[in-house]
């Protein structure tokens, strides 16, 4: 008959679960994943699968240690999303142990040592990325040139072999494959940064073939694909528009400002917006609810802060891309942002009608 167990109201719920939200996030990453694999080869796919597996295994391990239900924790899909993001952030042909270190660090240290889902201060994927970047800078900055620039196409077997052995099936190392005309090709942002320090103007540098039509061969389309996925997320109300808009808006504004003041020595606006991790960052990384601010106002400040840091590091810092660093630095500011952007409690100081 009727359950007489005490339960508190409300007795109806919106049929929307964390699990479902995470699932939509993964689905909306697909266009980006597809385009990225298209331009950088099957390695991306291998990295995503590897990182996801390691993330899930790590999370299961923690759950066993903490004597909690493994299945119900894994089924919230959050570890899977972290794994996928790490896989997407790594160079497509980075050796396997890089991925394993990254994914296990993200889940074991960044997420679960802080108390698990909802309690971590830092974005796990970005903290892992930064760990790898500062520990293995050479490997982590060795992005393959886009497939279209390579002399031979890499097969799936080549990809697996590169990741797990370090050599292609025919025995070439990643360095040999990646060098075209005798020198290694850097990512567009990296190239822009190096050449700017060598005294070239940004227009001169932009003539280089890696820059493609507007923001780098491959990179521009990958970013466009993440933009599409991101807009879908906003449309589906999985994420809200505040963080992406604040981030992209601020980045655009700063970039336009700097280009108008000093056009020769600043990174072109389109390159800022459509290269590196800008779009995946805006829609998939910054919007991680756990490590972002919670009120709408707070989210706008958070997004703008990340954009400011990205802009500063890209232009004046030592690293070509900056999304990971900017996100971690802003994560640290979140408690303070939350403290100062508490929404106004109903009735406090609303208009003049109360001052009677």
């Amino acid at each position: 008959m009727t359950t007489t167990k005490l339960q508190s109201s409300p007795f109806v719920r919106k049929p929307l679960k964390t699990k479902t939200l995470m699932f939509w996030v993964m689905l909306c990453l697909l266009p980006g994943l597809f385009v990225q694999s298209l331009h950088f080869g099957m390695g991306t796919l291998v990295q995503v699968l590897l990182a996801s597996t390691v993330a899930l295994v790590s999370e299961s391990l923690v759950m066993v240690l903490r004597k909690r239900s493994v299945f119900s924790t894994l089924s919230d899909n959050s570890a899977l999303v972290t794994g996928i993001l790490i896989g997407l952030a790594l160079p497509a042909y980075a050796p396997w142990w890089i991925t394993v270190i990254g994914a296990s660090f993200a889940i074991l240290v960044v997420k679960h040592l802080y108390g698990g889902l909802g309690h971590n201060i830092f974005n796990p994927a970005m903290a892992a990325y930064v760990l790898l970047l500062v520990s293995f800078p050479v490997t982590m900055t060795s992005w393959m040139p886009p497939q279209s620039l390579l002399h031979e196409t890499l097969t799936m077997a080549d990809g697996l072999s590169l990741i797990f052995n370090g050599y292609t099936v025919d025995g070439f190392s990643i360095k040999q494959i990646a060098s075209i005309d005798g020198h290694t090709i850097a990512t567009p942002l990296d190239e822009m940064k190096t050449q700017l320090t060598l005294g070239f103007t940004s227009t001169e540098i932009a003539n280089n073939e890696v820059f493609g039509q507007f923001a780098g061969i491959g990179w521009q389309w990958i970013n466009a694909a993440y933009l599409v996925g991101g807009i879908a997320l906003v449309y589906l109300k999985v994420i809200r528009w505040h963080i992406p808009l604040a981030f992209l808006g601020t980045l655009l504004a700063l970039s336009l400002l700097s280009s108008s003041i000093n056009p020769d020595h600043s990174i072109p606006t389109l390159l800022q917006l459509f290269s590196g991790a800008t779009m995946i960052g805006a829609f998939f990384i910054l919007t991680d609810p756990v490590s972002a601010a919670t009120s709408n106002k707070g989210r706008i400040i958070y997004g703008s802060l990340v954009a400011l840091l990205v802009f500063v590091i890209r232009n004046y810092g030592g690293y070509p891309d900056a999304v990971a660093f900017a996100v971690l630095l802003s994560n640290m500011a979140v408690p303070m942002i939350d403290h100062f952007t508490k929404p106004r409690v109903y009735g406090y100081g609303e208009g003049s009608n109360n001052e009677q």
Partner: protein
């Protein structure tokens, strides 16, 4: 994504209404229970003293119990019949608390015991009007159950200028106010006029949610002749029925925290209360029945039905065709703020406006997960609070922390729990925290009182001791004086 329509207040949710289950049928009036159970304990905890004893014949409308002051409204017999028992019986309290209960069997006759000629409220002064409302035992029928007469009296003292009538009915499933407005618009309008006279206000606003077009039309037609009446159609948004939010939506005024709406010159009453007040003043008829919505997917034929106070939930449900599937959850009130009924054999009291029987798939119960700080609760909180922070603090018994995030302003409306993707029972945390804070407060008051009493006692003892000493001293002196005087006279 970008909502261009201005919202009447920030936050709020749109739960699915299910109002179509009962919205189109007129109120059924045929229900007569074979016995009624009238608890002597009121919602606020005060006890009534019983005026009848076992074996007494009682008539419909007879005063059978009264309180010690005006805050405890009197109780009248809802039926013609006989008192058969006075015993502890279940109340609608969710913990299944028993209270002293009067059991009256019903002989099936429906006429009132006493008939009073209709009186003209214009000829009564405001204090007489309030007295009639108090005598009739009318309480707020919106849910809180506060004595309406007291509310009117306080409003007059606060010089209220506007009477706002709450026809919001934002809870899903419930349509009793909707039907009442459609079928008894004239009586509601008359009740409002009586209230206006009683509180000395001149303006009435009737606020109705836009999902009740028929009710809006009926009230419009009934209030045409009164120029001081206006009808405000407000958007359907939960919790529109909350007093503060309705005021904001209807007048644009936001009541500051800690202030009563009467301080801003606004008094809010429910439509059902308006009708009860009309009956009380015009015919001296006490509040002995009310319209409730019996609905939910487990009810055979959902309906709005007039129920004598004290009828058992089980009988009311039987009147509506009984249950067709297993009712996993039975609720008094709406699904957002209602309370679990401990058993189907509890009596209906004056403040229950709905009975819901929901099956497994409608309650959609899920185990809660960790908070991911998604911020949805912050977005929907109509009070502008941060529910997830309050819950985090409550979770660690940090009541002060929870209060800093605005726990005291929380309405317990449940919008946050409704939206939470991790299914966290936020409202339960807040209720827990609130009851702990209340317990602390009452402990503090108790210890303060004890201290005051002890201090007073010590002072009194000291005074008494001083008085005794003084008396002793004067006693000792007096004989001496007497001796001297004696000596003097002797000499």
């Amino acid at each position: 994504m970008f909502n261009l329509k201005p919202k009447p207040f920030s936050g709020g949710v749109h739960p699915k209404g299910y109002k179509e289950l009962t919205q189109q049928q007129s109120i059924s009036r045929s229900f007569t229970p074979d016995r009624v159970y009238l608890g002597m304990q009121q919602r606020n905890g005060s006890m009534l003293s019983c005026l009848v004893s076992v074996g007494d014949e009682v008539f419909k409308g007879q005063l059978i119990a009264k309180g010690s002051n005006d805050m405890t409204v009197p109780l009248h017999s809802p039926v013609n019949g006989k008192v058969v028992d006075i015993k502890p019986y279940l109340s609608s309290h969710p913990a299944g608390i028993k209270s002293q209960t009067l059991v009256i069997t019903c002989n099936g006759e429906k006429q009132w015991g006493e008939d009073f000629p209709p009186s003209d409220y214009q000829k009564l002064d405001h204090e007489q009007l309030v007295q009639r409302v108090l005598d009739a035992g009318v309480v707020g029928l919106g849910g809180a159950g506060f004595p309406s007469g007291i509310k009117l009296r306080l409003a007059r003292k606060a010089k209220v200028h506007t009477l706002l009538i709450n026809g919001g009915e934002c809870e899903p499933y419930l349509t009793c106010d909707d039907r009442l407005m459609q079928e008894h618009a004239a009586e509601i309008i008359a009740g409002i006029n009586i209230m206006l006279k009683a509180i000395g206000a001149n303006k009435a606003i009737i606020a109705i949610e836009d999902n009740k077009p028929d009710a809006i039309a009926a009230i419009n037609a009934a209030s045409e002749d009164f120029s001081n009446f206006s009808i405000k159609v407000v958007p359907s948004l939960y919790p529109m029925g909350s007093e503060r939010h309705l005021i904001k939506a209807a007048t644009g005024i936001a009541i500051p925290p800690g202030q009563l709406s009467t301080a801003q010159g606004i008094l809010v009453h429910n439509v059902a209360t308006a009708k009860a007040i009309y009956q009380a003043v015009r015919f001296k008829r006490p509040l002995i029945e009310r319209v409730i919505t019996v609905s939910g997917d487990a009810i055979e034929s959902p309906a709005n039905i007039t129920v004598p106070i004290g009828s058992l939930v089980s009988q009311v449900i039987a009147e509506c065709g009984g249950l067709k599937v297993e009712a996993k959850r039975m609720i008094a009130g709406g699904p957002m703020m209602g309370q679990v009924l401990p058993s189907p054999f509890v009596p209906i009291d004056k403040s229950i406006g709905g009975l819901l029987a929901l099956s497994e798939d409608k309650i959609n119960h899920r185990n809660s997960q960790d908070c991911v700080r998604c911020g949805n609760c912050v977005k929907v909180c109509p009070m502008g609070l941060m529910p997830f922070q309050m819950a985090a603090h409550s979770n660690h018994d940090d009541w002060q922390g929870a209060q800093q995030f605005g726990l005291d302003s929380c309405l317990l409306c449940g919008a946050c729990s409704y939206i939470c993707p991790s299914s966290i029972p936020l409202v339960q945390y807040f209720q827990h925290a609130k009851s702990n804070i209340n317990a602390q407060r009452s402990m503090m008051q108790k210890s303060n009182l004890a201290r005051q009493l002890t201090e007073a006692r010590q002072q009194r003892l000291a005074k008494e001791a001083a008085a005794k000493k003084a008396a002793k001293a004067s006693k000792r002196k007096r004989p001496a004086r007497a001796r001297v005087s004696q000596g003097e006279t002797n000499e």
